[in-house]
Symmetry: C2
Subunit: 204 residues, 2 copies
Amino acid sequence: MGRRSEHSRDEIRKMAIDASAKIVETEGFKSLTARKVAAKIGYTVGTLYHVFRNFDDIVIHLNARTIDEMAVLIQKNVKKKRSAEARIRTMAAVYVDFATEHPDRWRLVFEHQAPRGLPTPELMKVRRDVLFEMVAENLRELSPNHISQEVDHTATALWSGIHGICILALTGKLYLGGAFSMVKLIDTLIDSVLNEFRRTHAAD
Amino acid sequence: MGRRSEHSRDEIRKMAIDASAKIVETEGFKSLTARKVAAKIGYTVGTLYHVFRNFDDIVIHLNARTIDEMAVLIQKNVKKKRSAEARIRTMAAVYVDFATEHPDRWRLVFEHQAPRGLPTPELMKVRRDVLFEMVAENLRELSPNHISQEVDHTATALWSGIHGICILALTGKLYLGGAFSMVKLIDTLIDSVLNEFRRTHAAD
DNA sequence: ACATTATTTGAACATCGTTCAATAACCATG
DNA sequence: CATGGTTATTGAACGATGTTCAAATAATGT
């Protein structure tokens, strides 16, 4: 075969990531293979390797898109909220919803790691901290007198905690029954951290 | 070859799990393969498959041992502590230490999942809740008047949160620098949840 | 001594990520 | 219009993966 040029490099990239997302959603992230992606977009593996450096590269781009998608969703919902606290609670709610609706794509973001030794690609580093910073922003508004470092610290602790509940629930490692639910657990965590945050402010 | 009978079934199982642990620790959990395990114990793949149902079965047994090992370590350290709060803080500290010292084995516990559709083996279910229950026990002691369900709820939220900090830090998805550290983040979370717990008790 | 049983092997299979020479389609030039 | 150069695309090949199983061998029973 030779050049068909039906699609540009970037188009193929986009098609491949689309296809990957679909495969992960329908068959789970363990079923994502290069050949499956290639077949789904009407090309062969070879072409894929001309457009991506390797298989991890595909996963990394898929994950970047997943994070972006989630960030947009969170932004959109947060805008409607007036108070800083409501915004933080909304962030968590959307986060949980997204993780629940796209469990495999969401897990892939957190369970994938580039081959041992290689550094985290800049692509990911940039996205990594976006949500933490959004939480920090709202904490700052909630209590403007805290020193910046303390705000960041609290934001990290809170958001990591929410993430922990999310991932354990999603991977079936939490007992959820009766009055238990992800949402309630997260409410408890938010209540606790926000109250403590306000209290330490008083002793400032 | 025929029966050598140098080792019993159970001995081979133990040897295989030992070898797996070593491989995971030294080469990372992505490098764990059946052939590598077999070679390390002086057998071939075939033998492994007579003793384990499949590769996941090996991982599950390795994970069970990892959890047991960690649980023993926690128990031992918790015994020395007098107050319920000190015991909870110690639990978290030992958890973090273990995860930090054995990152790959620890991650394997939480990132492995049996093939799609298959239920979590009983082996895991039993171990899954041990640590949560330990936290709940101490919470109960901390404030005996709470209703049992609320205690379990708080224990789950707190322990999941600690886990979240742990896993994000370990997978390099947390900004940790300056005054930031896993220990400090976890302290913040524990402070918040315990204080809130005591406070809601007052309004009981 | 021989037959039976249990244990261990290693070749075979499909599939994986990855590479790369060969190929076929396009473009430009004569 | 043909011809040659360029380039996108292929598909076979490689080593390694999990998994299976007939064959081979060692221990045991008679």
